[in-house]
C-alpha cells in the first residue's frame, strides 16, 4: 500500500462507521435509545429463555397493542397515553391469562395465546379504523429515528428500573427457575418475584415498542440472549455476553440502515439475528461446529 493510501482508508472508515452519528443528531438519539433498550433487554431475555418463556415475550408484545391503540385514540400520538395504555393492556393480559390457567382446565400457554390473539386483532382494528396507515406503521414498527427527549427519558428510566429490579430479584428468580420446591420451602419470595418479573417484561416491551414497534420489540430481548447461550454455560456470563451482543446489534443495525436505506428497526433486529446465526455455528457451548467436530475425550 502506498503512502497516500492510509488517509484515504481512514477517512473511508470514518465515513462508514462514525460519520452517520457524528453528523446527524437523530442518529445519535436512535443509538442512545436503542442501546438503553439493548442493555435492559439482555438480562430480561436471558431469564425468559432459562424459564422457557421465550414465546411468552412474543405473545405479550402483541398483547400490548390495543392498549397503545386506545391511548392513541384518546390522545393521538402521545407518549404518555400510549405508554400507559400499553402497560395496562400488558398487565391485564398477563394477569387474566394466569388466572384463567389456574381456575380452568386450560393450560397457561393456551390461555395466553387466546388472550393475545384477541388483543392483537382488537388493536389492529382500532388503529386502522381511527388512524391513517402511517400511524399503523408507526405502532407496528416503531420509529427509532424520531425519538424525542421525552421518549429518550422514558427509555432510559425503564432501562434503569429494569436493571435495579432484576438486581434485587436475581437470587429468587434463579432459585425459582432451578429448584422451585426448594425456594418454596425456605421463602415466600417465589410468587411475587415471578409477578414482578412479568411486570418488568411488559415494561420493556412497551419501551421497545416506541423505538422498534410491537412486532420487533421482542427481537432485541430474545436474539442476543439466545445467541449468548451458545457461548457460555454460566448465567452471569450469559447476561454480560447478551448485553454486548445487543449493543453491537444496535450500532451495526443503525449503521447498516443509514448506508443502505433499509428501515432502521428491522435492520437492528436483522443484525441481532445475524449474530445469533453466527453464534449457532461457531459457539463454544453447544454450537454446530462443536457438535459436528467434538474434541477428543479426556482421560478422566
Amino acid at each position: 500500500m502506498n503512502a497516500s493510501g492510509w488517509p484515504d482508508l481512514m477517512s473511508a472508515l470514518y465515513d462508514l462507521l462514525f460519520a452517520p452519528f457524528a453528523d446527524f443528531e437523530f442518529m445519535r438519539r436512535a443509538l442512545v435509545g436503542a442501546m438503553a433498550l439493548a442493555l435492559a433487554g439482555a438480562p430480561v431475555g436471558v431469564f425468559l429463555i432459562l424459564r422457557r418463556m421465550s414465546l411468552t415475550g412474543d405473545a405479550m408484545a402483541h398483547a400490548i397493542l390495543p392498549g397503545a391503540a386506545i391511548g392513541y385514540l384518546i390522545a393521538g400520538l402521545s407518549l404518555g397515553a400510549m405508554t400507559a395504555g400499553g402497560m395496562i393492556a400488558g398487565f391485564v393480559v398477563a394477569i387474566a391469562s394466569g388466572a384463567v390457567a389456574r381456575a380452568t382446565a386450560l393450560r397457561e400457554d393456551a390461555s395466553l395465546a387466546a388472550f393475545y390473539l384477541i388483543s392483537l386483532a382488537l388493536g389492529v382494528t382500532i388503529v386502522s379504523l381511527k388512524g391513517s396507515n402511517v400511524d399503523l406503521m408507526h405502532v407496528l414498527f416503531g420509529n427509532v429515528l424520531a425519538l424525542d427527549d421525552a421518549t429518550l427519558l422514558l427509555l432510559a428510566a425503564i432501562a434503569s428500573l429494569t436493571l435495579l429490579g432484576l438486581a434485587a430479584l436475581y437470587r429468587p428468580l434463579v432459585m425459582e427457575t432451578v429448584d422451585p420446591l426448594f425456594l418454596a420451602s425456605v421463602s415466600r419470595a417465589g410468587a411475587p418475584a415471578q409477578l414482578i418479573f412479568l411486570g418488568i417484561v411488559v415494561m420493556n416491551l412497551v419501551a421497545g415498542f416506541h423505538a422498534l414497534g410491537t412486532l420487533m420489540a421482542v427481537g432485541l430481548m430474545m436474539l442476543p440472549a439466545a445467541a449468548a447461550r451458545f457461548w457460555s454455560a454460566d448465567i452471569s456470563a450469559m447476561v454480560a455476553i447478551s448485553a454486548g451482543f445487543g449493543l453491537a446489534s444496535t450500532y451495526l443495525g443503525l449503521t447498516l440502515s443509514y448506508h443502505s436505506g433499509a428501515p432502521s428497526g428491522p435492520a437492528v433486529i436483522l443484525m441481532a439475528g445475524a449474530i445469533y446465526l453466527v453464534s449457532m455455528v461457531l459457539g463454544r457451548a453447544g454450537g454446530l461446529i462443536r457438535l459436528l467436530r467434538p474434541r477428543h475425550h479426556l482421560e478422566a
Binding site: M175, V178, D179, L181, S185, V186, S187, R229, A233
Partner: protein, 246 residues
C-alpha cells in the same frame, strides 16, 4: 426432654380423602426417626405437612423447635432444572438463603463452609461443574451439601436413598449420623428395613392410620408389618364423612 414437633389429631389428604388419618404423637428434639410403611401410606404427605407445604384437613402440626421455613426439607423428586446454567458451588450456596437473603454477600467464612459442605459429601473438585453434568448419586450428594448449609434444627428427608448405590448411601448415612450427633431432629421416609434397623433408633409405621411408633425393633415386629399391609385399603369413592373425634 424437649419436643420438636407435635401432631394433634392430624388428618392430611387430598380432595377430602385422608392420606394420613388421626395421627397423634410427638417428635422429640434430637430424634432420628424413620417413617415407614407401604406405598400410599401417607409418608410423603406427612413430611409435606411438617414442612408447611400442605394444609391439614383436620388437626394440626405444632412446630415447637422452629418455624416452618427454618425446617430443611428434601422432597422425594426434587424438581431441579438440570439444564439451568449454574454450577455445583452456586447451587449448594443456596443453602444460605435464610441468612443471606436478596443481597447478603458470601463472606470468606461462609465460602469456606460451602467448600466444607461439598467436601463432606465427597464432591470436592466438582465445584465448578454445571449441575447438568452430575450423575444421580452426585446430584443427591450435592443436595445433601445444601441441606448441611441450611443449618436447620429439623431436617426432613423423603426417600433420600432411593436409586443410590451402597457407597453413596453409606456416605450420606454418615452425614445423617453427624446431624444426629449434633442433636438435630431428623425425620426420614425410608423403605429399606435393614437401613432403618441399623441406623434409626426410632420408627413410625404408618398405613394411613398410625400402626406403631417407638423403638425401631418393636415397631418393625412381624405382627405390626402384617397389620400395616392390611390397613392400606383401596381408595373408596363412596366414603362417608368421618365421624371419629379426637
Amino acid at each position: 426432654m424437649t419436643i420438636a414437633l407435635r401432631f394433634n389429631n392430624l388428618t392430611l389428604g387430598y380432595d377430602r380423602h385422608p392420606a394420613v388419618h388421626h395421627l397423634d404423637g410427638v417428635v422429640e428434639s434430637g430424634d432420628l426417626l424413620a417413617v415407614c410403611g407401604p406405598n400410599g401410606a401417607g409418608k410423603s404427605t406427612l413430611l409435606k405437612a411438617i414442612a408447611g407445604a400442605i394444609q391439614p384437613l383436620g388437626g394440626e402440626v405444632e412446630r415447637l423447635a422452629c418455624k416452618a421455613r427454618d425446617i430443611a426439607y428434601l422432597p422425594q423428586a426434587a424438581e431441579i432444572d438440570r439444564s439451568f446454567p449454574i454450577n455445583v458451588f452456586d447451587l449448594v450456596s443456596m443453602g444460605f438463603w435464610r441468612s443471606a437473603g436478596l443481597f447478603g454477600g458470601l463472606s470468606r467464612a461462609k465460602e469456606a463452609r460451602v467448600y466444607d459442605a461439598i467436601a463432606s459429601v465427597g464432591l470436592t473438585g466438582l465445584e465448578d461443574r454445571p449441575i447438568g453434568t452430575l450423575s444421580g448419586g452426585q446430584t443427591q450428594r450435592m443436595l445433601f451439601a445444601r441441606l448441611l448449609l441450611q443449618d436447620a434444627p429439623v431436617i426432613l428427608l423423603d426417600e433420600p436413598f432411593t436409586a443410590l448405590d451402597s457407597k453413596t448411601t453409606a456416605d450420606l448415612l454418615e452425614v445423617v449420623a453427624r446431624w444426629h450427633g449434633e442433636k438435630r431432629t431428623v425425620v426420614a421416609v425410608l423403605h429399606d428395613d435393614e437401613i432403618i434397623r441399623r441406623c434409626f433408633p426410632k420408627a413410625l409405621l404408618l398405613a394411613r392410620e398410625p400402626v406403631a411408633w417407638g423403638e425401631t425393633a418393636q415397631v418393625l415386629g412381624a405382627e405390626n408389618l402384617l397389620r400395616a399391609r392390611r390397613m392400606v385399603e383401596a381408595f373408596d369413592r363412596e366414603a362417608h364423612e368421618c365421624e371419629r373425634v379426637a
